[in-house]
Subunit: 141 residues, 2 copies
DNA sequence: ATCGTTTCATTCGCATGCTAATGACAAGTC
DNA sequence: GACTTGTCATTAGCATGCGAATGAAACGAT
């Protein structure tokens, strides 16, 4: 009894990787200020939250503590994010978008919409709805 | 005129990243021999092709030359992949699965099926078909 | 045959992304 | 107040993933 062949390009994992690659390429070509997808997500989230500790920011952007640390470090080095210690909790470092860059947030939103649009371009409107809905289902652990 | 809000968790890029994370976690828990997703894909592809140069193997697994090099290096270090120089083309290094490990390929296929099944578990059969089909559409550059 | 173009493999630098371990601090229990 | 537990941030180590540059070798056209 032979089991059906294992076809690599029919597997979710493989397809997810290739789809992510295409999106990453689109992102790199269209994102403002040379931001990477994770840096972009971090800034957008931080703009929403106003002020936030590093670990919480990681949780809200689906990055573990080690990953968010690197992302925030690089954003701080570029001057997008400022840090100040929480007087109530000496462990915490409160993060926020640097005042000089607060005005870029609308540009980020605008670029984000265009990037998503370009990524979803191969799909019809109905397919886009379905695809996002299925992606959400598959993401819920 | 306010544009519709930019909701991070509704964007394809964000959802693709989170879905990939869930799949990676499943993969790590279920994959044999401590193989990573890319190492796994590389071995499966190499098994199909029998013998293959490194760059071509990369193309057939959707990895650029720099990435496939690292993957192959680590597979060689673990003894899964053997190398021999092409007498007809002194630039090329012909790769193949080490004889001692050729027998694991059916196990890889079996594990691959179980990993895909687990990843797709939140979806019905019809949804799985749709999802894979949409993923394919979004991947075609 | 030589020359321009490709291809092969390697390397550097940067950015994710994860696990695991660590030290500092906070908060609750007794 | 001492203890336990949990949280915050950092660090080390490993594995992708990409762009760009390099040197060696093959190949095509003239």
């Amino acid at each position: 009894m032979e089991r059906a062949d294992y076809v690599l390009e029919d597997q979710v994992g493989f397809l997810l990787r290739v789809a992510s690659q295409r999106h990453a390429a689109i992102f790199q070509a269209m994102a403002p200020l040379g931001l990477t997808p994770t840096q972009f997500a971090t800034l957008v989230r931080l703009a929403e939250m106003g002020e936030c500790s590093q670990n919480e920011l990681g949780r809200r952007t689906a990055m573990d503590v080690a990953t968010i640390k690197g992302v925030v470090d690089r954003l701080r080095k570029k001057g997008f994010v400022q840090i100040k210690t929480d007087p109530k909790d000496k462990r915490r470092a409160m993060l926020s978008i640097a005042d000089a860059h607060k005005h870029i947030v609308p540009d980020l939103h605008e670029a984000g919409h265009r990037i998503s649009e370009e990524t979803l371009k191969p799909l019809s409107q109905a397919e886009r709805r379905d695809f996002l809905s299925l992606l959400r289902k598959i993401s819920d652990s």
